[in-house]
């Protein structure tokens, strides 16, 4: 059922199944919690976590304070794209082949050897995007704590 919830959130479900899952969601508190959890994850990773934990209450308070408008407004359909497909994260991890264990290449066509050019200090501001990109993908034998920490420590570096 949880997989169906993530499929529903990824908008990959037909109308009939959606209605069935939605009915289950509203009648089963545990599934409803699961639905909310997936949305919280999605919001946070879309950079939309700024609403805060009490967003719903604050919104309700503001709505209550608004004057009532009786004329019908234009009808809008709001589609929140769930950019991170939850199905992908819930489903079994996709097997990515281990490639190129050995980096040794003996291509005779390679004739240009690097000149000994590099000398002097690099300007840190210009190199920060590369450092950030490096910290994003660095692999420390699965012990990623140090990688996470570096990423946050240097995220504020200027460009």
């Amino acid at each position: 059922m949880k997989e169906q919830i993530s499929v529903l959130m990824d908008e990959e479900m037909d109308a009939q199944s959606s209605a069935r899952v939605a009915r289950k969601l509203t009648s089963d508190p545990e599934l409803y919690d699961c639905w909310k959890t997936y949305h919280a994850i999605g919001d946070a990773l879309r950079g939309q976590g700024q609403f805060g934990p009490d967003f719903r209450q604050r919104m309700a308070d503001r709505l209550a304070a608004e004057p009532v408008v009786l004329a019908p407004g234009p009808r809008r359909v709001f589609r929140a794209p769930f950019l991170l497909p939850v199905a992908a994260s819930v489903a079994a991890a996709v097997f990515v082949g281990w490639v190129a264990l050995s980096q040794v290449s003996r291509d005779p066509a390679a004739v240009v050897v690097q000149p000994e050019l590099a000398a002097g200090e690099l300007p840190p501001d210009a190199m920060n995007p590369y450092l950030r990109a490096h910290h994003e993908l660095a692999w420390a034998g699965g012990m990623q704590q140090a990688v996470d920490v570096r990423r946050v420590a240097y995220a504020g570096a200027a460009e």
Partner: protein, 325 residues
């Protein structure tokens, strides 16, 4: 069911003999301990405060790590200076960073970790000798010290402390040639915990009153090596390719190829991109924290190599790149 799955993982972890402090030998083998530490970092639920130190930089960060439905969630909050934090699911992450009167939101979707990496201990053996040290108490937990001594000058030494009970990495110290501390990351306080009931903890708490600015997003996708004009020769011993991606960087005319190498604990990135007349060419060295950077220009291409390794390693990896005529 979610809680059931989490507690299963937790129980399995605790039930595996090597985790216990039993006198059955597993606790005496540094390679087995390292292997377990790699798994514990991903599977355990914990919250604590990390202190990061490198040169004159000292930062305290609160980290919450949860394994939910076999997926990794982490929230890292910088505790000093302007508010900043990172939320990460697997390799997808968002960093919220307060700058002046704005909150800059930097989002990066990187997909899953490459699967089928070799066993960590197999990986590490080429570059390091492992030796068990004594007990060390870190962040209120009883740890066991593992020394990773480099077999050559292409990597730094490491002193790790892992939790005796769970295998969680409590402390890692990177050591230079003269045993000088290059970088240190250690828990000042940590607690293992059951999986939280909800994901309410997984949201940023940055100043809601400030305007949020989304940084232009870099598209990152995995990339095959087909069609390259350049080839990579011999890497320094023990280093293997972990991943290869292509980055479409906003403002750059050409995509940047990034290859990531690791010797099991140290990581190096190689960037290759065609020169852009609008961007100044970069040639030289620099050091940020424990990370050495080396840049060179060859055959109309900008090369940049960055990693938590000695200067000679980044330089040698840059020089392993050659171009077809």
């Amino acid at each position: 069911m979610r809680n059931c799955l989490a507690s299963c993982i937790f129980c399995c972890v605790l039930a595996t003999p090597a985790w216990g402090a039993g006198p059955d030998g597993a606790q005496d083998d540094p390679w087995i301990l390292l292997e377990k530490a790699g798994q514990a970092a991903r599977h355990l639920n914990y919250r604590g405060v990390f202190v990061y130190q490198s040169g004159r930089v000292v930062n305290a960060m609160q980290i919450t790590h949860v394994n939910h439905a076999n997926d990794e969630f982490a929230r890292v909050i910088l505790l000093d200076g302007a508010p900043r934090e990172m939320l990460r699911q697997g390799r997808d992450a968002v960093i919220y960073d307060t700058r002046n009167e704005k909150v800059v939101v930097d989002r990066r979707m990187l997909g899953t970790f490459p699967a089928a990496l070799p066993e960590l201990s197999t990986f590490l053996r080429t570059g390091y000798q492992a030796r068990l040290g004594g007990p060390e108490r870190v962040g209120g937990r009883d740890g066991v010290v593992i020394h990773l001594e480099p077999r050559d000058r292409y990597r730094y030494g490491c002193r790790l402390a892992v939790d005796r009970e769970s295998g969680l990495l409590l402390k890692s110290v990177m050591l230079g040639e003269r045993n000088d501390v290059i970088e240190q990351v250690a828990f000042s306080q940590v607690a293992l915990m059951p999986e939280p009931d909800d994901m309410n903890w997984f949201r940023p708490e940055i100043d809601y009153g400030k305007p949020y600015v989304m940084r232009p997003e870099e598209k990152v996708m995995s990339a095959a090596s087909a069609g390259d004009r350049w080839i990579l020769g011999q890497l320094p011993p023990g280093y293997r390719q972990i991943d290869r991606v292509q980055r479409n960087v906003p403002g750059k005319a050409h995509p940047v190829t990034q290859m990531i190498f690791s010797d099991g604990i140290a990581s190096v990135s190689l960037f290759v991109e065609p020169l852009d007349p609008a961007v100044p060419r970069r040639v030289g060295h620099m050091l940020q924290g424990a990370t050495h950077v080396y840049a060179n220009v060859v055959e109309g291409h900008q090369l940049v190599v960055a990693g938590e390794v000695p200067a000679i390693t980044v330089r040698q990896i840059a020089h392993a790149v050659s171009f077809r005529k």
